[in-house]
Symmetry: C2
Subunit: 382 residues, 2 copies
């Protein structure tokens, strides 16, 4: 059973102090129904991606909250896989439709992060790492700094190559009115920004963000009744493995990404070279470079060259993170994996506005939980 995307919506990402988690859910559902051209009574099942609501506001059971907001009884399931919660929600909705058991599925990813003070939210985010890592006093930027340091030591890359990721993603975000940071930054600004965990500086890091994104997935048959131009999910794949960075064989490879990508490409009968553009999980600048390699776009140790020579920019060979990525569009953790697919869906439909890429026929999204304990890859095509 082929699975189509009927509509997509993203709220503004940022410090949305006047909006609650419930408000974000309500706006994203309203937006995606409007974009899909269907009514809520046509929704048969829902999936909700969220990581932090219990830590931030004490609210668990958020799929029931979403159903209360939706206003009709349907099966609605919350999934949680740290920063991959959104991608996992999409993968489960894909399965629901592909199984033939449902014709339509709503996916909502939403996160409210700015209601906690920064040190508490850092603690809460460390829930995505292992107990040993927490007890050792590590932070997520510390964990990714270990990966970055090893990468810089093993390969010819320099700190400027990491910084280039943020410069590119801010440039893309400057063309995205929904982005948290819709303005450019210079290489010098990144290089001179405060070190957080060397070699990573504050401008190598994605921010704390409030926001939501939503999709409606349907069967091919259902989509035919509503849209002339259809976008299909050609591959949907999820892989989990070691929660702890210390239990991996390599610090410069995220194996769940490799395995998930391999499976998604096989399902889509495609190869990395067939992908027009991608949204990848750049929680820290090093993460984008590792993703480029682990997804198969570049050989191990060569991803940074693409950042250096610009082929991952809007006007390059294969643009990466046209939304601005996690770095500059923002990273409301449970919403990120959904937003990535909203972005590539819009690109495939030619709705990319000022940041529309040319000749987009296929697109990939890549969402990671923690340091790679979970990875989710989706491939879309026209």
């Amino acid at each position: 059973m082929r699975v189509a995307i009927l509509g997509a919506y993203q709220t503004k990402f940022g410090e949305l102090w006047d909006l609650s988690l419930g408000d974000l859910i309500a706006r994203s559902i309203e937006g995606v129904l409007r974009d899909s051209g269907i009514g809520k009574k046509q929704l048969q099942i829902g999936f909700f991606g969220n990581k932090l609501s219990s830590e931030v506001t004490g609210q668990n059971h958020v799929a029931a909250l979403a159903t209360e907001i939706l206003g009709i009884p349907i099966p609605f399931i919350r999934v949680e896989a740290a920063c991959a919660s959104g991608g996992v929600a999409v993968s489960q909705a894909y399965m629901a439709i592909a199984s033939g058991q449902y014709e339509t599925a709503l996916v909502v990813g939403a996160e409210k992060m700015t209601d906690l003070n920064p040190s508490k939210i850092s603690d809460a985010l460390m829930g995505a790492a292992s107990e040993q890592e927490r007890q050792a006093g590590l932070s997520f930027v510390g964990l990714y700094a270990l990966m970055a340091r090893k990468y810089l030591s093993d390969f010819e890359a320099k700190e400027e190559d990491l910084a280039q990721v943020s410069v590119k993603n801010h440039h893309h975000a400057s063309l995205n009115p929904k982005a948290q940071f819709p303005f450019p930054i210079s290489l010098q600004q990144v290089m001179e920004s405060a070190p957080v965990a060397e070699p990573l500086k504050i401008l190598d890091c994605s921010p704390i963000t409030d926001g939501a994104a939503a999709l409606v997935l349907t069967s091919e048959k259902f989509a035919r009744r509503y849209r002339k131009r259809k976008i299909y999910i050609a591959g949907s794949s999820l892989m989990a493995e070691t929660l702890s960075l210390g239990k991996r064989k390599s610090l410069t490879e995220i194996r769940t990404t490799r395995l998930a990508a391999k499976k998604a490409f096989s399902q889509a009968a495609m190869e990395p070279k067939d992908i027009s553009l991608a949204e990848v999980h750049d929680c820290f600048s090093i993460a984008e470079i590792l993703a480029l390699e682990d997804l198969g776009f570049y050989k191990k140790g060569e991803g940074f060259i693409a950042e250096r020579n610009g082929e991952v920019k809007l006007d390059g060979k294969r643009p990466i993170n046209l939304s601005g990525g996690l770095k500059a569009c923002g990273h409301p953790v449970g919403a990120t994996g959904v937003k990535q697919i909203v972005e590539i869906y819009n690109q495939l439909l030619g709705r990319g506005g000022q940041r529309q890429a040319k000749k987009v026929r296929t697109a990939l999204s890549h969402n990671v939980g923690g340091t790679g304990g979970t990875a989710v890859v989706h491939i879309l095509k026209r």
Copy 2:
């Protein structure tokens, strides 16, 4: 695609102070693989039910933890729906197999609750209710007390009828070595126990529990190679609706249960009268009586009569909660929905030990999140 259960396992339930969440996961995976007669490399996907790990130990991303413990990379997805997390995990595993995309699925439900002090765990549990309910200072026993009071006021039931639920479930638990409270209690003991939220007394309430349960689900074809006597999932249904009790039309009906049951019965081509026995969600004594009615076993306002005349006991017409239920077997919230199916699976296989019911051909499980924001119903048959 028909879905079979290949194996089932439950750890001892109780105050397991020497076991961590990871230990519980490890034991339940080891136990279910042994019971299934397959190796871990034959597992293709996993689903994990857990509510409280982030509140209790700060650990989120628990499906990646489970995968690390399993020791091989597979897709592994955590779902959370408060006390229905386990049932939701089974429903998603059912969907994965029924879709034809996977041949085998592991389900683990695990919860570690006794590492928090009682008042903090009560606060954490209130994450399953609405923000308004939390702000009003309500507790879960308070919410269910509202339902109990209304029931006693609308129908002919007495407090002794509620108490009878606990007496029966403790009797069943006295025959279950895995139960947290494997001993009988008397009607007088319940009636004289301390009031918590009137009319509910401490012995009307399920306890705080550590424990885990696991299942292996497979396609019919796969199961044929491993087991002579197969148990099938004939119906699997999940429904979500209003998170808040105050937004419901009735205090004496859980509509998600009614809707989920209706769908599961329709899928199984059965009626309530066809069910030999059931495990239902007795988080508080009143909840079992509501479940008996909302599942269609008895008319609204008549469930208590079955408790009074004993037809829901081991030797009665349709035994309910032979495991001891949440009340006496214990209620490790994320494990409960999985354990219910472990119990009815064992009953269908004649492995019920001292509490084995006679002539079991079909069985039902019923798992609720919060005050009914989510309900999950499964129907098994030989």
